[in-house]
Symmetry: C2
Subunit: 523 residues, 2 copies
């Protein structure tokens, strides 16, 4: 069963399909700026205007009634947001209801899939889901995709790329189901309040503007007027009240902790030293850091530096952790741009602090608008599963070739930031992290400035200024080929990754809509 045709070799030497059944033609990736520099324009897809009579009742009593009223049929596209993360119960509830109603062959287009969505693998096997657009895949779903169980190739997108895809209609959402932690009967809703409060609804805001039918599902219906509105009533067709949107304890998982791993701390310290050497840690600095161990630890070093030197930054952005909130509250940033809130402290800050600004996915990172937040980032610190000697980064597939990661804002922020630093241990479980060629490129090396490991740091040769600054700061700069060999001397040289099959089970779309890589079937 080949669902793609006419493979071509893209600007990174990767084989990618020129056509995918059900999705149409794709251009191969050329370079991070190729489309932007050529002045690429895309028409936008928006649903038609439809009138509604005064005093229309939107509240329906069950998911089933909402699905019936939405006109959802087999073969259509459903979207969800993943702001409830591992606590989300809505996606599975809707798909199970669809199955019970005999609706199948669905295209699933969530902002991402989390551990809460393992059941999707079985729904694929039973024909309920036949195509998936997502940013991340984990566990059973990743394995099912990698084994070729999803009939059509899955499309992996970054957050900015997803906003772009929805706005231009590459993802054409028939029905958006919005988990709404607080909602009024007219459909005004927010993620910041209620027992399932998750914070920002940055991903869902784009779905609400572009889906043909929008269903808000809430476990906290409040009388109109809800006084904090992330998505206004005029984008919402129906409101469904359910017992619970999920497991609140897994939605907001408590303050993120700084790693105690000596390896991670060493990496973080050197990453921080590189950032300091770059000269960017100056008043007005803007900053994004992930929630992972070493990344978050970089924030701790940066924070100490800023406090010590009396530096006040301008803003932080991204998926926001409690650590960033603390920096906001300490006055180290003027504001936070929050597209996704990682814990309860973040959600509460969003409610309480006017300088904590909820932003949507397009505002955050869409390269095809008039200017997204990440395009003015100074510094971003990013994690990796693998890197290669061309500085390409893989955050999607494990060394066994199985999908188990998330594209997220990785390539968006790397492209936008003045300084994109990837922090990665030089090996994990005996397998080196620096390869001749990563299994799957998510972020092109051209947009990565430095890779920091516990055995030294490697700077992209196109950044001779940064190499010089790092050497002046006596940082352990190494040529990336040398570092690779140094690690291999310890671990041995891994067997090159050769796909088990020529069948493409997933494609990785670069943020601009071109295909940057293919993921092949594993046994």
């Amino acid at each position: 069963m080949t669902r793609d045709r006419g493979r071509v070799v893209n600007g990174l030497g990767r084989r990618v399909p020129a056509f995918i059944e059900g999705l149409g033609a794709f251009d191969p990736y050329e370079g991070p700026w190729s489309r932007l520099e050529r002045g690429y324009e895309a028409p936008r897809l928006v649903p038609p205007l439809r009138g509604s009579m005064p005093r229309k009742t939107k509240v329906v009593e069950s998911l089933r009634r909402a699905i019936e009223a939405s006109g959802l049929q087999s073969g259509m596209t459903l979207s969800f947001h993943h702001h409830l993360r591992n606590g989300d119960a809505l996606l599975m509830a809707v798909l199970n209801e669809c199955e019970a109603m005999g609706i199948g062959n669905l295209t699933l287009a969530p902002s991402s899939l989390t551990d809460a969505h393992d059941g999707v693998a079985d729904l694929v096997r039973r024909g309920v889901v036949s195509q998936i657009h997502t940013s991340g895949v984990r566990g059973a779903v990743g394995r099912a995709i990698s084994k070729g169980e999803v009939p059509f190739p899955v499309v992996i997108r970054s957050h900015g790329g997803r906003a772009r895809a929805i706005e231009e209609g590459s993802i054409s959402i028939d029905v958006a189901f919005l988990a709404a932690p607080a909602c009024d009967p007219q459909g005004n809703l927010t993620g910041a309040l209620g027992p399932s409060g998750c914070g920002s609804l940055g991903y869902a805001q784009i779905d609400a503007r572009h889906a043909r039918h929008v269903v808000a599902v809430t476990d906290h219906l409040v009388p109109q007027p809800l006084n904090r509105v992330s998505i206004p009533q005029y984008l919402v067709d129906q409101v469904v009240v359910v017992e619970s949107l999920g497991d609140a304890s897994k939605i907001a998982t408590g303050a993120a902790r700084i790693t105690r791993s000596p390896v991670d701390l060493k990496i973080a310290r050197d990453a921080y030293r590189l950032i300091a050497a770059s000269g960017l840690l100056a008043p007005g600095v803007s900053f994004q850091v992930g929630a992972g161990g070493a990344s978050l630890a970089v924030a701790a070093f940066v924070r100490d530096h800023m406090k010590e030197k009396g530096i006040k930054g301008s803003w932080g952005c991204g998926g926001i952790t409690g650590y960033m909130v603390r920096m906001l509250e300490e006055g180290l940033f003027e504001a936070l741009y929050d597209v996704q809130s990682f814990d309860a402290a973040v959600r509460d800050s969003l409610v309480r602090n006017g300088n904590h600004i909820e932003i949507d996915q397009s505002w955050y990172a869409n390269p095809l608008n008039r200017g997204c937040v990440v395009h003015n980032l100074d510094v971003v610190v990013l994690a990796a599963l693998e890197v290669d000697v061309a500085f390409n980064v893989n955050v999607m597939t494990g060394h066994d070739g199985v999908l188990r990661g998330a594209s997220g804002g990785h390539c968006d922020t790397a492209a936008g930031a003045k300084l994109a630093v990837v922090v990665v241990p030089s090996f994990r479980g005996g397998v080196p992290s620096i390869l001749d060629r990563v299994q799957t490129v998510v972020t092109p090396g051209e947009t990565v400035d430095a890779i920091v490991t516990e055995r030294g740091l490697c700077i992209n040769p196109r950044r001779s200024d940064l190499i010089e600054a790092a050497r002046s700061a006596r940082l352990p700069v190494k040529e990336i080929g040398d570092l690779k060999r140094e690690v291999e001397a310890l671990t041995g040289v891994p067997r090159p990754n050769e796909p088990d099959s020529d069948r493409v089970v997933a494609v990785v779309e670069y943020r601009d809509g071109t295909l940057i890589d293919s993921v092949f079937q594993v046994k």
Copy 2:
């Protein structure tokens, strides 16, 4: 010079064009719900997605540079918002600059025109402006239009109708100029802060989403991040810094005062008594009232009633006055939905009070979305220039037939509210306000429940329930024909309004996009 063709008689017996040169075909008005009930759908017009490179500089040094960079050419459509009201200097500055650059034959599509825009009349004569879409016209511009000086018929729309027209592309904006009282270099902007702070930017938000090119003009450029964002950066192409957006003293004109006119107070008291008699002044009531003398006085009576009876309403909406803010602060409403802030106290409340919610023009009143605020109004109190025995209301033309009013939210709220009360003195300057046939219909009588004058109140015969309630409350209910004759006995019978010419100088669009009336040329 006839720019319209194929006149037809609409559902109110009014002659309206079937086609207007440069604008295309129009359907005649049938009834307030005809299009909605038929499930009318309209495709939406949105500009294409266009990429932008990281660290793109948006700030340009002058209006001229911004106009050049926008690609604005003769024959194109410009939009403006009127949140700065009589203090706005931007509209004239841009048009004067266009003239200096040799750009003419422009279509002007502001949310409304105010006294600050008298100069447009001369620009029309000099060929800079040749077509106008607006909600209101005053003074010299109204006279110029009425005298037939604008080459093409002007289109008058309600606030909800304008949102609809922009969303569906009936108004296709080439360049939107947004007066931005506070703006950062990326184009994040708000109306709530800065020396020209005007409050809500509800009208401008729609322009920003739909214009092909968006220019933010500010006299208060702040470093990124501006922490209150009404319009996000990704909708803005350019930022221009100017000395001043206008005369701040005319932007926020101080707290609205309750009328002392005995006639207005008598009207207001009876209007309040009717509202009370309707049973709608119950917990959870929603309410809109205009800023005019008698209207605002109704709010004062309603406030006293609510305080006395311990009634807590749900929300107020519309153009918000300081009086409504006071009621919010006194706990008489849970929230205010603010599409336009009428004074400084309102602007400050918007900044300070989380229950004071900025809403856009579509959210407020667009009949062709999934549910606007006014569609859940309980009570609205509206002013009028003239009414007629079929309860039709004219708020656009004086008894001389000259344009001098504003459509505003009049027909939107009348259609949406459970109870729409029009307050009007029975005559003004010796001319009766109740006619056999209003000069210009803006709001159809079918959506008006009652007309209250100082000589008694008239209830729409289709509201037999309300007639009964009013009689039970011993209100001075009169049959409208009787009241008309009573007034005429004092004033004499006015000469029927016969247009001087058959030339249509303006059309009044009902909120759903059909033509409800024509305005004919006067001498």
